[in-house]
Amino acid sequence: MAIVSSDEQVAIFAGKRSDWCAQEGSSRPRHRRPRRIGPAAILRIEGFVHASGARQMGMKQTLEVINAMEADGIIGRYAIGGAVAAYNYIEPTVTDDLDILLSFRETADRSKSKLITLSPLFAYLKAKGYQEHRKEGLIIEGWPVQFLPVASDLDAEALAQAQEVEIQINEAEGAVWTRILRAEHLVAICLRVGRPRDLIRITQFLEEDAVDLSALSELLRRHHLKEVWQAFCNRIGIADPCHIQREP
């Protein structure tokens, strides 16, 4: 819940000061001093309390928490991956969790050890009251969130090239800014993971013409996924739409 310090009325996100500044119903990371606003405005802008007095939970609030983590330096750049990112391009299917691909900011301690740990992230969220886990996800504002640190060159490229989008889930709540992986990276990551549901998602991208085939072809070549792609095409019985075999 948002609170207000006595000496300075600044937006405090879920009990801790944040460098976030909500403006005009949108929430985008701003690395500047928060503007002074009153407690009622804080509650309204942060979306924690509905006009009826009921606490709001949902994807917008989940993304606001993650955006605050980025603004507070707990995580580096992040982007939505998995099924929720696929919603940006294809017909949605129900999913259990929100996949967040993320990087960490280089710190003096970490540059020495090169060890990546999610402990500070979980400690930060625990301090804000988010400590319930469901399967592999941590529940944040009603959505189980799975934090996936960058673990390959493909992940790193996908995160670097993720596109910034503004999502408006409903008019009353306003919009929230976030990043979404590009369609070609989502397909390549699905191919690498290779569960049946991932392969179904690839076929959806192809069927709905939601992927740039020449960009995908280049991506598969660059990340050594050509053979896996051909195996996928053989398995589902389609002619290779990327024409990888014909390439020199």
């Binding site: 994807m59 294809i90 017909e91 949605p92 129900v94 999502i167 889930i169």
Partner: protein, 72 residues
């Protein structure tokens, strides 16, 4: 021997396909709102499924405990 005549459902399938395409064209926010509503509707079914799985798991565990020879 009578021959079964099945109805032509190609129109229905075409309409369903167009419906899926229409949903695909919606904005990300609209799709998320759809899924959040769907999750709410499915929550009771999911809870029942999880309870059933937990019961099956505990029943299987009880069976294997009974089948295992005692260590004493």
């Amino acid at each position: 021997m009578s021959q079964i005549i099945y109805p032509d459902v190609s129109n229905i399938l075409a309409r369903k396909k167009e419906g899926r395409r229409e949903i695909s064209r919606r904005s990300l926010g609209e799709k998320i709102a759809m899924v959040e509503a769907m999750r709410e509707r499915l929550a009771p079914l999911k809870r029942i499924r999880e309870e059933r799985r937990a019961n099956q798991k505990s029943a299987a565990l009880n069976l294997s405990n009974k089948a295992a020879p005692s260590s004493s």
